[in-house]
């Protein structure tokens, strides 16, 4: 915001007065105008008492801002996150005070762990009532503090423009993340002279790191001398839009590229250097060969425990180069040899000319050998079973082939998620929308809504489980209300599949509370006017999926799959990545 005292010239001061006398608007209207200034045209939310002044103004701005009314605030949060992930623009979600705000929390935490910029706006009771346990008052600032990148409470209308500008700047720069602004009802109704200035600098926060040239030069030497190098590419590659640089770097050096779950789609799955997914249910080759690699180049990833397995036995042979924008992530889980605290794209741009052309044919052959083992023991029986119940993998594979790997895939959490990540062949960046760090069941359905609204021209297909689907099933109402043509594939195994798998493997098959008694999902969907089919036989599968893909409307497929299927390979908890199992 303009600071009169800091104004250097008389003209600037005069302009300030001119602005001041031009127009006075309410805080609620100022909020919407701030959002428009930031390029926001879509908001996900749910109204309530304290946020009514803002919703009232939304009617006047409906030409410029589209509001998607979800059926629960959690749905709004997930949808806004998915919208941000597919568009690269920050998502925005509104909720009222008290329960509206607390209902957002799971969604906020989910966006926080997966570094997605979402600006959450919650309303608060009148400022004079704060701290009195007033009706629908809750300390959302305190509650959201550990799961937001930044939050603030606004009690006076004049503070709105400056704080909103700050919120967008913080959410979208550096390592992105969710921010929350809590606005009291009196700040929404109070008046202010409106003037908006985008935030470009905060003294205590510096997301632009000077290029670590010396470290990158040392990294190049390591890479040029490596015999078994491996790239681990994470979400940071997508966030910094470094897909082309990554590809150029990999092609020039001939280094295989393994991806994390959230890094998936940053490197085309049909590329000869694509090594597959890392982690607990990742591919055999990248997990096993992590422990043989002599140089690891980790780009925009954070060595999550699901990726590293047992840290004591992780990558013992490797020198590790870590390119990461968030300094607090470097040396957090894995001690690295070269720290490059930079944006992935900037670092790669500087690195590429320094590395020598190479082709690690012998090293790549080891990947091929492992790929072949995995294909024969795990993949082939999963995607091309000849008899027995339908498998998740074969459905995903079929969808992958029919959409040529070019759809946006949204998943819930659990076996459906792992099947989707493993068997869909992602070609384009930002086409897997999934809940990584939090593992939030119920994410899939609302996220598919946000993804479709963000990218209306790309087919959006959600893979859900019968458990997760029912956690946010009410969002079918949002699909009906706004006519959102998402394609939903629900795998029904009448189990909470992933938990059941663990019970099977580590709890002597004691199935405690994992078997589900399910409703008639097709009937439920017909209540929401969503075309729906149930598939129980393999022979019906291709046609049903084709019908779904060709439909212009939303579409729901319930597919009865193998009841006690197991996702493999698996790095068991406590095991090293090299001990990855390909059979139970």
């Amino acid at each position: 915001m303009f600071n009169y005292d800091k104004a250097e010239s008389m003209t600037e001061r005069a302009e300030f007065y001119e602005e001041k006398t031009t127009e006075e608007i309410t805080g609620a209207e100022a909020l919407l105008r701030c959002l428009i200034e930031e390029g926001v045209d879509t908001i996900f939310g749910y109204p309530g008492g304290a946020i009514m002044p803002v919703y009232d103004k939304l009617l006047d701005y409906k030409e410029k801002i589209r509001h998607i009314l979800t059926r629960h605030e959690q749905g709004a949060a997930h949808a806004a996150q998915a919208y941000a992930m597919v568009t690269g623009k920050p998502g925005v979600a509104f909720a009222t005070s008290g329960p509206g705000a607390t209902n957002l929390i799971t969604g906020i935490a989910n966006a926080y762990l997966d570094s997605v910029p979402v600006v959450f706006i919650t309303a608060q009771v009148v400022s004079s009532l704060i701290g009195t346990d007033a009706f629908q008052e809750t300390d959302i600032i305190g509650i959201s503090m550990p799961v937001t990148k930044w939050n603030c409470q606004i009690k006076r209308a004049e503070e709105i423009p400056e704080m909103v500008a700050k919120a967008f700047y913080i959410a979208t720069t550096g390592r992105p993340g969710p921010v929350l602004i809590d606005i009291t009802k009196d700040a929404q109704t109070g008046k202010l002279p409106f003037k908006y200035k985008k935030c470009r600098f905060i003294r205590s926060y510096n997301p632009r790191k000077p290029l670590k040239k010396k470290e990158i030069e040392s990294a190049a030497i390591l890479i040029n001398h490596a015999e078994k190098p491996l790239i681990l590419a994470g979400h940071g590659v997508l966030i910094s839009k470094a897909e082309n640089e990554l590809r150029e770097f990999a092609e020039k050096t001939g280094i295989p590229v393994a991806v994390t779950l959230l890094g998936m789609s940053c490197f085309p799955a049909n590329h000869r250097l694509y090594a597959g997914m890392l982690g607990m249910h990742g591919n055999l080759a990248p997990n096993k060969l992590t422990n043989e690699a002599d140089v690891i180049i980790a780009i925009g990833m954070r060595f999550d425990d699901r990726v590293t397995g047992n840290l004591k036995k992780y990558a013992p042979e490797a020198r590790i180069i870590h390119i990461e924008i968030d300094e607090a992530e470097i040396n957090k889980n894995v001690n690295v040899d070269i720290e490059i605290n930079n944006d992935a794209r900037e670092a790669l741009k500087y690195l590429i000319p320094l590395v020598n052309p190479n082709s690690h044919e012998r090293w790549l052959r080891e990947f091929r050998i492992n790929d072949k083992i995995e294909y024969n023991t795990v993949i082939k029986p999963e995607i091309k079973p000849e008899k027995g119940p339908i498998k998740m993998g074969e459905v995903v594979n079929m969808v992958s082939e029919l959409t040529k790997g070019e759809a946006i895939i949204v998943t819930d959490v659990g076996q459906n998620q792992m099947a989707a990540a493993r068997y869909y062949k992602f070609i384009n960046p930002n086409t897997l929308i999934t809940s990584g760090g939090m593992g939030t069941m119920g994410f899939g359905l609302p996220a598919s809504i946000g993804a479709k609204i963000g990218k209306p021209d790309v087919p959006v297909i959600a893979f859900l489980g019968d458990g997760g689907f029912q956690m946010t099933i009410q969002e079918l109402g949002t699909i009906l209300h706004h006519n959102i043509p998402v394609k939903l594939i629900m795998f029904n195994n009448f189990f909470l599949g992933m938990v059941r798998q663990w019970q099977d493997m580590f709890f002597q098959k004691r199935y405690a509370s994992t078997e589900l008694v399910n409703p008639d999902f097709v009937k439920i969907c017909s209540g929401y006017d969503i075309p729906a089919e149930r598939v129980t036989e393999r022979e019906e599968l291709t046609q049903a999926i084709t019908r779904m893909l060709n439909a212009n409307s939303p579409y729901f497929l319930e597919i009865h799959v193998e009841k006690e299927g197991t996702i493999l390979p698996m790095v068991e908890p406590g095991a090293s990545v090299s001990e990855v199992k390909i059979s139970k």
């Binding site: 305190g142 503090m145 930044w150 913080i170």
Partner: protein
Amino acid sequence: MVKKEYTLSIFTEDHIGILNQITIILTRRQINIESITASESAVKGVQLITLAIRTTDDMVRKVARQIEKIIDVIKVFVHTSDEIVYQELALFKLSTKSLLSGNIIDHLVRSHNARFLEITSEYIVIEKTGHKNEILRLLNELEPFGILQYVRSGRVAVTRQVKEFHEYLKELNEALREEEKEESGIFNRLKEK
């Protein structure tokens, strides 16, 4: 790994709730705060929070980076005890009767470099400034005389390092000015059009 005592000097913007954000980080890592002091720093508008914690070298570095990541935190310095000059202050309240049992307390106060703050007919108050172990030593020796109240402050510390905080701040402010110049440049060019 061995645990050591570290002093964190955390320079922050003067905003509500920062202490809360810092303690969340320490709580998640199960680190107990041994002492804490907050005051305005030598730079107007910048708060200085001084924390003493016991932890490992590896962990203190991790939490310092996480604390510095908080948006409103400007800079975090981590120091071992030999890199800082620090003091704590303690007050002891004793019954005046204890003073009448000879001049032992006078002697203790003098030999410990403490001083009497107040002497009334009912009670006396002794002030001692020093390191924690010095204060504890005096506490130990006063104990037989019946201590009515004892309180010790958080640690205050200044660093021995040569580069001072305001120099970091100057660099930051220069960057800000650059940024603003760029902004107004764009603004002027727009106006010319």
